[in-house]
């Protein structure tokens, strides 16, 4: 069994690896943008006029980048993707790397892993599902609520790994992305903190008991 120190060292190495990966993804993204900008200039003969329509992928990307600019994420990159599907990586709560996948074919935005090691039959998972329901309920103030006419969120627990999928009903991907980000933020800032999950956070989310 690994000692706390061993786990700590592995944690540091893993974090470094994630940060390196994020930085290289960020450079790839910058390069991609420069190339796209050059190509755009070539196509339009150097015309700097903006496109009239913004693709959902660009709209979501701009939104997420805005969060990074505002310090919500400590790191952000646009990963590999196509014109119908795009992955984003966010260095976020507890300095963990989150992946968000936008899928235009399925009309979804999905976090494949939000919480690890949650027993599907546990009280914690039941409470989690209730929490999700409450965020989509009319009892929530309008500015906090996920409008179910526009989007619907569901969770899936596969062998303890909890994912979240938001279905976009009206093509408003920016709204969906915004609400999904808010939801995950509330899970970490509210659900986990307000509930009896201190030990869970220590064991599975890297909360340092010495510094808690």
């Amino acid at each position: 069994m690994a000692s706390g120190r061993d786990r700590g060292v592995r944690g540091v190495k893993e974090k470094r690896r994630q940060v390196d990966e994020l930085q290289s993804a960020r450079s790839r993204e910058e390069k991609r943008r420069r190339v796209a900008a050059l190509q755009g200039r070539r196509k339009s003969g150097g015309d700097s006029r903006k496109c009239s329509g913004v693709s959902p992928i660009d709209a979501v990307s701009t939104l997420l980048e805005g969060y990074a600019q505002r310090g919500v994420f400590r790191g952000f990159s646009r990963g590999q993707g196509s014109d119908r599907k795009q992955a984003f990586r966010l260095l976020w709560h507890r300095d963990l790397l989150f992946e968000l996948i936008l899928d235009l074919e399925r009309h979804t935005l999905r976090f494949p892993l939000v919480l690890p090691q949650v027993d599907p039959k546990s009280a914690m998972y039941q409470k989690f599902k209730e929490f999700l329901k409450s965020r989509q309920s009319d009892e929530m103030p309008e500015h906090r609520r996920i409008d179910t006419r526009k989007s619907r969120v569901r969770s899936l627990n596969r062998s303890g790994s909890v994912s979240l999928t938001l279905e976009v009903k009206d093509e408003d991907y920016e709204y969906g992305a915004r609400k999904l980000i808010h939801l995950v933020h509330e899970i970490f800032m509210g659900f986990l903190v307000d509930g009896p999950y201190y030990e869970y956070m220590v064991e599975h989310l890297g909360l340092n008991p010495d510094g808690a």
Partner: protein
């Protein structure tokens, strides 16, 4: 005059409010006491340092601490660091052998002090030129009383403390405080105030985070005026609470769920700045920060508007410039969130009542609710009693149940530094301020002070009950006795480690208190606690006698597996917040 007397004269002219020390640095502390600075001598330097910090936290005034070179000084370290984390204007003094013996380990206790306080002070200096003692005293107070406060550390070699001066001409820069520092403060530009007013007026759910600077600059009236003009929510932060009353309809300190709804946050005097994921605001929230020094604007939290300004001047400008606006929906949301928070706390309390009855040991939520009802729901003026809390399991509960209705009423002893242990000594210092009626404590002069701490924490400060008895500084110390360090769950699953987390069971801290000249009470259920609180309060108010109430608990109350919900971290900012 001696060098020590010159320094003491300067401290007196600066109205230094108190000195907490242990013997050592004799020339300096004797000169300070002789100059008329209220002085208190205690049992350990570390605890006296915490007492000075506590005195300052509830008054905003500069307080000093002193110890002997080497051992006395190094004993203070934890609490100098705690004061630094809390941005306390604390003057740390220590003797330091003789310059003539530097680098020779001559006799005993040779050490370089200044490197040891690196990273935990605002300014520090080993005085080496005797004739510059006044000049460096001025450096000290310039730092203590300007900008963002913090500890200042001066160490006095004997050549400086004992130097003799017969002519003022031999002292460098020997002029008064009107010349060596200024009361002039940074004003916000009219344009910045205009921008702030526009952003606030446009917001639907604005909130002010009223940090320590509001208290330090005593600008709570202007804060209230500005908040009420536009129905702006206010949540307090910092090592002391009460500069916006918890029972005000606009207070968000007990409304953690509403924090997530705010669309504009205005940080004013937030000295210890959190990162975005540390305060419960939503990802869209816009941010204005008002701070007296430019260098800190933008650190940790990207800003939409940064304003360099003294907190008092900004709040007065804002209160004057804001047009009247009502935000009924926002006020309603604050009230609903407060109800939800109080219900959640009551649910845990009701579980605690059951656990207490089942086990014959008193649960932390029950202890804190009983104290709450005694101080705020009974015959005592709810604004009267200054409280402070620390510890882990008990500290988290005490944070939830503690209230502050006026400036300087509640101290978060573990603020930022998270030290377990200074609590009781810190509250003895706070009580010294209350007994003398210093600053915001004036209307409640002579009232008892209450401290909630743990058995682990008590070990660091309990002996200062002797000091409290000696000076008739009453403190009611409620000790949560769960026979362990609160972090014992870290050893679950490691049978060979657990012993390191445990104490002897059912130790009698109340008996120890009696041996030190205080009263002792031993309680195991809520009824006993209720009666003990009454007796202790009366003894404190009438006879100026301190009491330890030993509340016998179980370590398993910490564990969510054994007694759900176990411990719960607080939402920040708001009641119970201890990180920022």
């Amino acid at each position: 005059m001696s060098g020590a007397e010159v320094f003491a004269k300067l401290c007196k002219e600066e109205d230094l409010a108190a000195l907490f020390c242990c013997p050592g640095n004799y020339t300096v502390i004797n000169a300070m006491a002789a100059a008329g600075i209220p002085a208190y001598g205690g049992r350990t330097e570390g605890a006296m340092c915490a007492a000075a910090d506590g005195f300052s936290r509830v008054t905003g005034e500069v307080a000093a601490t002193s110890g002997t070179e080497g051992p006395g000084f190094t004993h203070m370290i934890m609490n100098i660091a705690a004061a630094h984390a809390a941005r306390t204007p604390l003057l740390v003094l220590a003797s330091n052998m003789q310059i003539a013996g530097d680098d020779r380990e001559q006799f005993i206790q040779t050490a370089y002090q200044q490197p040891i306080t690196t990273g935990m002070k605002k300014y520090g200096k080993r005085l080496t030129a005797p004739n510059r003692v006044w000049e460096y005293g001025a450096y000290a107070f310039r730092n203590l009383k300007s900008g963002v406060p913090g500890p200042v550390h001066l160490d006095f070699p004997a050549e400086v403390a004992r130097a003799r001066f017969t002519d003022a001409a031999s002292l460098t820069d020997f002029y008064g405080k009107d010349r060596y520092r200024s009361e002039s403060r940074a004003h916000p530009s009219a344009k910045d105030v205009e921008k702030a007013v526009a952003m606030i007026s446009k917001a639907e759910r604005p909130i002010i985070v009223a940090g320590q600077g509001i208290f330090q600059r005593k600008t709570w009236e202007a804060l209230k005026e500005a908040a009420e003009k536009q129905d702006i929510a206010v949540v307090t932060s910092g090592p002391v609470r009460g500069h916006f009353p918890d029972d005000h309809r606009l207070s968000a300190s007990l409304s953690p769920d509403a924090l997530m709804s705010a669309d504009l946050v205005i940080f004013v005097g937030q000295y210890c700045m959190p990162s975005r994921g540390e305060y419960r605001f939503n990802p869209e929230v816009k941010a204005i920060r008002v701070h007296p020094v430019q260098e800190d604007l933008g650190r940790n939290w990207p800003l939409d508007l940064g304003i360099v300004s003294d907190e008092a001047i900004f709040m007065e400008s804002l209160a004057g410039a804001l047009p009247v606006k009502k935000r009924d929906a926002w006020v309603g949301e604050l009230a609903s969130a407060r109800q939800a928070f109080e219900k959640q706390s009551l649910d845990v309390y009701n579980l605690g009542v059951k656990y207490s009855a089942d086990t014959g040991h008193i649960h932390p939520a029950v202890i804190c609710k009983e104290i709450h009802d005694f101080l705020y729901k009974g015959n005592i003026d709810p604004k009267q009693t200054v409280t402070g809390y620390g510890g882990w399991t008990i500290g988290l509960q005490a944070g939830r149940w503690g209230r502050a209705f006026r400036p300087g009423q509640a101290v978060c002893c573990g603020y930022q530094w998270g030290a377990i242990g200074p609590d009781l000594a810190m509250m003895i210092g706070a009580s010294a301020a209350v007994q003398r009626g210093i600053g915001p404590q004036a209307p409640y002069q002579g009232a008892p002070v209450l401290c909630v701490t743990s058995d682990a924490g008590a070990a660091y400060s309990l002996f200062e009950l002797d000091t409290a008895a000696k000076y008739k500084i009453p403190v009611i110390a409620v000790i949560y006795n769960n026979n362990s360090w609160g972090m014992w769950p870290s050893a679950v699953g490691s049978a060979r480690s657990m012993h390191m987390y445990l104490f002897q069971e059912n130790l009698r801290y109340d008996s120890l208190a009696e041996g030190l000249g205080a009263r002792g009470e031993y309680v195991q259920n809520p009824e006993q606690l209720r009666e003990a609180l009454k007796r202790s309060y009366e003894a404190a108010a009438k006879d100026k006698v301190s009491t330890v109430i030993n509340c016998q608990a179980l370590k398993e109350f910490t564990s969510p597996k054994d007694y759900p919900p176990g411990i719960q971290l607080p939402a920040e900012p708001g009641v119970g917040a201890f990180a920022h």
